[in-house]
């Protein structure tokens, strides 16, 4: 596999590339083409932003492709207070943060056991874990739904008194589903760590836990950062699990709650645009800030669907 090299080092040394520059007009053409494509790619986002700033009455009269008569932030106010977006953001955090921490912890330990502890059957384990992540969620969602309704939970943990319609249920399915991908990536990464490092510790009589927690994990920081960035985005963007495994509107994570901004009989698309912008914002910010980690994560374990 080419894409399992350590993240920190950018792939390929590329020292002094041959300056293979085409003739000038060709370069201009290339720039023009790429600029056009890039613009085309940004336009829908800009359109959403633009639409969210205009009153419904105006776009209903003139269409979205028109000059503004009036720009307003009203829809953001509406989405924020009337649609109670802050509550849904909070729900997302309640679900995503524990899920992220648990996934990375379980996956890094399993990866360590598979890559370093030479346990029997490690290959099979890795295959089963990886394959599990590649399944379309719908393949297992029907029995999962039934299972969730059958598992009781104490009332202090879930007011629905079952795994169905509980935060814990969503956390667990995120962990279970994303776990395979993280194990695959981390096991490949750990294999690239020189074995001498833990070897020496072994001679010193270090325990498995010490070799994992104090010796291996700190070396995995780059891959953990990449996975955390990527997994945050995926869990945040989840729409399906919450749709099927939750029923109380007030417990939904923000991406699924966006659907609530759509009215029963009439949908104000400008409000929906403002909601979309607000929902997209955290991932866009994460992407801008941790752009390197995000790309590293995507290319590192590109088995992800």
């Amino acid at each position: 596999m080419t894409l399992t090299a350590p993240v920190g080092t950018s792939p390929g040394p590329r020292t002094a590339p041959p300056p293979r520059r085409g003739p000038r007009p060709l370069r201009w053409l290339l720039h023009a083409f790429l600029a056009l494509v890039a613009l085309g790619w940004l336009l829908p986002l800009l359109l959403a932003l633009y639409a969210s700033l205009r009153p419904y009455e105006e776009t209903a009269r003139l269409g979205y492709f028109s000059l503004p008569e009036q720009l307003t932030l009203d829809y953001y106010g509406q989405a924020w207070s009337q649609a109670e977006l802050p509550r849904y953001y909070l729900n997302t955090l309640i679900i995503v943060i524990p899920a992220l921490a648990l996934t990375l912890f379980l996956a890094s330990f399993a990866a360590f056991a598979i890559a370093r502890a030479r346990i029997p059957g490690r290959r099979t384990l890795l295959i089963v874990f990886t394959a599990g992540n590649l399944l379309p969620p719908q393949v297992l969602i029907t029995p999962l739904y039934s299972l969730y309704t059958l598992i009781p939970l104490p009332a202090w943990l879930s007011d629905s008194q079952s795994l169905y319609d509980s935060y814990l249920g969503l956390i667990l399915i995120h962990v279970a589903f994303q776990f395979g991908f993280c194990v695959f990536v981390m096991a490949n990464f750990m294999r690239t760590i020189p074995e001498e490092i833990t070897e020496a510790a072994l001679v010193d009589g270090a325990s498995v836990w010490r070799r994992y927690w104090t010796l291996t994990l700190p070396l995995c920081r780059p891959v953990l950062a990449a996975l955390a960035t990527l997994q945050f985005t995926w869990m945040y963007n989840d729409f399906l699990w919450a749709l099927v495994l939750m029923v109380s509107g007030d417990k939904l994570p923000v991406t699924s709650a966006l659907n609530n901004l759509r009215g029963q009989f009439f949908t104000d698309y400008n409000l929906l645009a403002a909601g979309s912008v607000l929902v997209a914002l955290p991932t866009l910010i994460v992407f801008q800030l941790l752009h390197k980690q995000f790309v590293a994560g995507l290319t590192l374990g590109s088995t992800k669907g």
């Binding site: 596999m1 080419t2 894409l3 390929g12 590339p17 290339l30 790429l34 494509v37 890039a38 790619w41 940004l42 829908p44 959403a48 269409g63 979205y64 492709f65 028109s66 996956a107 330990f109 056991a113 295959i127 089963v128 599990g132 590649l134 399944l135 379309p136 969620p137 719908q138 393949v139 297992l140 969602i141 029907t142 029995p143 999962l144 039934s146 299972l147 279970a176 776990f179 395979g180 194990v183 074995e195 325990s207 498995v208 836990w209 963007n237 729409f239 399906l240 749709l243 099927v244 699924s256 966006l258 698309y269 645009a273 929902v279 997209a280 866009l284 290319t299 088995t303 992800k304 669907g305």
Partner: protein, 290 residues
């Protein structure tokens, strides 16, 4: 690397068993267990409660013969796969090749192209409505047409696939760009010295070395096509021409009628298709590794 037999202390064994045990329980309990249960339930007429009755292959027969959305869903999933595979993926590769040429401003272009990758497909679905809306949408305004892009059964799947491709292209581009950067520059130089032009260099020298990346991209494309759900659900709940297998499965749980057995039969069809690709992919992956 010689395989050494190591002695673990009792405590080490406990730690390993607990750590891996939890992982296996979660994985089997929530992923593989329910997957197998889908297979079993697909041969029953269970409705979520009450007795479970064995009905053999009747769900499958009903699916093929008496459930019109099924065939349009199959058609749409195939279209989705073909469109992503033959249009979006090659375009992503094309952009990656262009962007690999160390242009000035390449990073800006790259950022623009993969901006949509971080968006939820549900959000993409909502944005698509601003573009395609019949009365107020931008597409009709710009082209002067008056097409109900999302409501007309004969066109809606196509425009929705374009929206899905908007996100897919960036994804494919990132992966190919990383693959291209890892290609040994000496290979290209050698080809250039031998008098190959750029096109020949790419198709005869560079592209064959990208084989592992191609496999990854192929798998991503297939899986994305089978998983497609959020975007059509955000647009019209996957009805009226936008049926997909994933939507039909979900409809049987969250819809009015809870038909667990019937929904499971559709899930099994999805499972069989995806397992074919997963097995091919993994056997290749793990063979190379050995």
């Amino acid at each position: 690397m010689a395989v050494r037999t190591r002695r673990y202390s009792a405590r080490d064994v406990t730690v390993l068993v607990i750590g891996l045990g939890v992982a296996v329980i979660v994985n089997v309990g929530l992923i593989w267990g329910p997957t197998l249960a889908s297979v079993a339930l697909s041969a029953t007429d269970w409705n979520g409660f009450g007795p479970i009755e064995w009905i053999g292959g009747r769900n499958y027969a009903d699916l093929a013969g008496e459930y019109p959305p099924f065939w349009s869903a199959v058609r749409n999933n195939v279209l989705w796969l073909v469109f992503l595979g033959l249009v979006a993926t090659p375009f992503g590769l094309f952009c990656a090749v262009l962007l690999d040429r160390r242009l000035r401003g390449s990073r800006v272009y790259q950022s623009a192209l993969y901006m949509p990758v971080v968006l939820s497909l549900a959000v993409v679905g909502f944005i698509a409505q601003l573009v395609y809306s019949h009365d107020y949408g931008v597409l009709n305004a710009v082209t002067g047409l008056s097409v109900d892009w999302l409501g007309d059964r004969s066109v809606n799947i196509w425009v929705v696939m374009v929206a899905a491709a908007w996100r897919h292209v960036g994804y494919v581009m990132i992966i190919y760009l990383a693959g291209l950067k890892a290609v040994d520059p000496a290979l290209k130089e050698a080809a250039a010295i031998d008098g190959a032009n750029e096109r020949q260099t790419f198709f005869r020298v560079v592209f064959p070395t990208l084989r592992p990346v191609n496999v990854i991209v192929l798998v991503i494309t297939v899986i994305e096509a089978l998983r497609a759900f959020d975007i059509v659900y955000a647009i019209n709940k996957g009805r009226n021409g936008l049926e997909l297998l994933s939507v039909l499965v979900t409809e049987n749980i969250v819809g009015e009628a809870s038909r667990i057995g019937f929904g499971s039969a559709i899930a099994v069809i999805l499972l069989v298709i995806s397992l074919g690709f997963i097995v091919t992919y993994l056997s290749q992956l793990f063979r190379e590794e050995r």
